[in-house]
Symmetry: C2
Subunit: 290 residues, 2 copies
């Protein structure tokens, strides 16, 4: 099996994640044909016109059976049904990966729907900005230098993992591996909780009679803190539900942290506040996005 | 009294706020002489060399008695002592303003220390970025298009308010007025609370054994959410303490908001989460920093 060439790649969901994957593989000159499936005929036609896909898929069975690689790039909530549709038609050489932001639920869906072909599926989470969405937002360099986390299954062979890893690396990504549980715990802490907190702050202010006055005085600190509160409500609802256990744990920790700060403030414990702020500043100052 | 010219301006604290005020008035060509005071001789000399001030002040009494305008641009915690030093020497025509981020405490300090001259002091809060600090960070355009909130006192005459307003407008600022209490409530909500929440998130992660792993997967959402956690611990300790009452109220509201979200998540109430996220997105999406 040649690692670095893909005769046929089939993409379910030709939006930002799926479309950028296709464009990146094309730019790397490692794919002969890209076939796209999706719920919207207009989006698929747009993706074809933008050169993201060569053809719009009509028959899942016919397209998947001889595909080298299938990418699931739909909202996570649709992946279970999609896997059930695809599984019977996957050829012996067909590998599958996905672009979902949560992994425990995707892995569970894979075990429930892929049967003995579960070993052909290597779950993945590309950590790439989702400010925009849709085929028109897709870019060949979306994954360049960005992290992609694989959460391989015990059923994956080393060769299968290596080939899926290579596909993401050919997109320019820096690939690492975690277990699905590790992944979901890490992202509950550094992504899902911050989104929840940002939504919560804006929602808290949004319900007030004087919200326009409040917002008229908000400045750059508020702007940055709440940028992620403009994210897709549906997507983040699904992520929160999918990663409920880890997120509830993070939320409990954070509420405890706030209670500690509240008590320090109420008790005029300026030293404690400064200690908390100082450690935060030190750690944040030494961190840079990778 | 001519509104738009200042023969002599005296600035206490020639850092970002004070230095930028001086540079802006100079660029507007409305000041003849700027005299600077500060705790650090090196900073004062730097400010002189950078053309921010004409002279380093040596004698508060001599410099303040014939000043048109005094700006207090030190940390808020120092303003009370400073006012006590300055008050006896303020001339009948000398006006005073400040650049503090909280106003209730500054107003209280004014009443405690300025005596019958309190009517010459118009408290102000310039809403201008404080990412950097120090004289070297001062810029003539720091206030251009930025909001400055005045919280006038009942003892201020309309002419006094108008002249201090004009000084900030000549710096390029968009000036509005609130009471000190309104100011502190508004900024507890849109600035002080977000800073506290951002510090709290980073501090929560910073204490963990796997913090390096966590931070290695943090991306742009985390970056923006935590940018303000790199702010000065001393400054934010003082702001939190100075605005304790309003901030405790905001913190309590926010913890209640988190509890609402926690319950929705624990109860699998996806609809409620989506409603919360949707209102937040709508309000955040329609807001733009002014």
């Amino acid at each position: 099996m040649q690692l670095t060439k893909f005769n046929k790649v089939v993409i379910f969901g030709v939006g930002l994640i799926g479309g950028s994957f296709a464009l990146a593989l094309r730019r790397a000159n490692v794919v002969n044909e890209v076939v796209g499936f999706g719920r919207s005929a207009a989006t698929l036609e747009q993706a074809r016109q933008l050169g993201i896909i060569d053809r719009i898929g009509l028959d899942v069975a016919a397209e998947v059976c001889d595909a080298d690689l299938v990418l699931l790039a739909t909202p996570v909530g649709q992946m279970s049904d999609l896997m059930a549709r695809i599984a019977p038609h996957m050829g012996a050489r067909t590998l599958m990966t996905d672009g979902g932001s949560t992994k425990g639920d995707v892995v569970a869906a894979a075990y429930a729907n892929l049967g003995i072909k579960v070993g052909q599926f290597v779950p993945a989470h590309p950590i790439a900005g989702a400010e925009q969405s849709g085929a028109a937002a897709a870019r060949a360099d979306l994954y360049a230098g960005k992290k992609v986390v694989l959460t391989p299954l015990p059923e994956n062979s080393p060769e299968t993992i290596a080939r899926v890893r290579k596909a993401w690396e050919l997109c320019g990504a820096v690939v690492s591996e975690l277990t699905a549980q590790q992944h979901d715990e890490v992202f509950a802490a550094v992504s899902h909780l911050p989104h929840l907190l940002s939504f919560a702050l804006v929602h808290d202010l949004a319900q007030r009679d004087n919200r326009d006055q409040l917002l008229s005085f908000a400045a750059s600190g508020f702007r940055d803190f709440t940028r992620i509160a403009a994210s897709s409500p549906e997507m983040w609802r699904d992520i929160c539900m999918a990663n409920k256990t880890a997120l509830l744990g993070e939320l409990a920790d954070y509420m405890q942290e706030l209670e500690t700060i509240r008590r320090a403030l109420a008790a005029d414990d300026a030293k404690k506040l400064e200690d908390i702020f100082s450690l935060a500043r030190e750690v944040r100052g030494n961190w840079a996005p990778q």
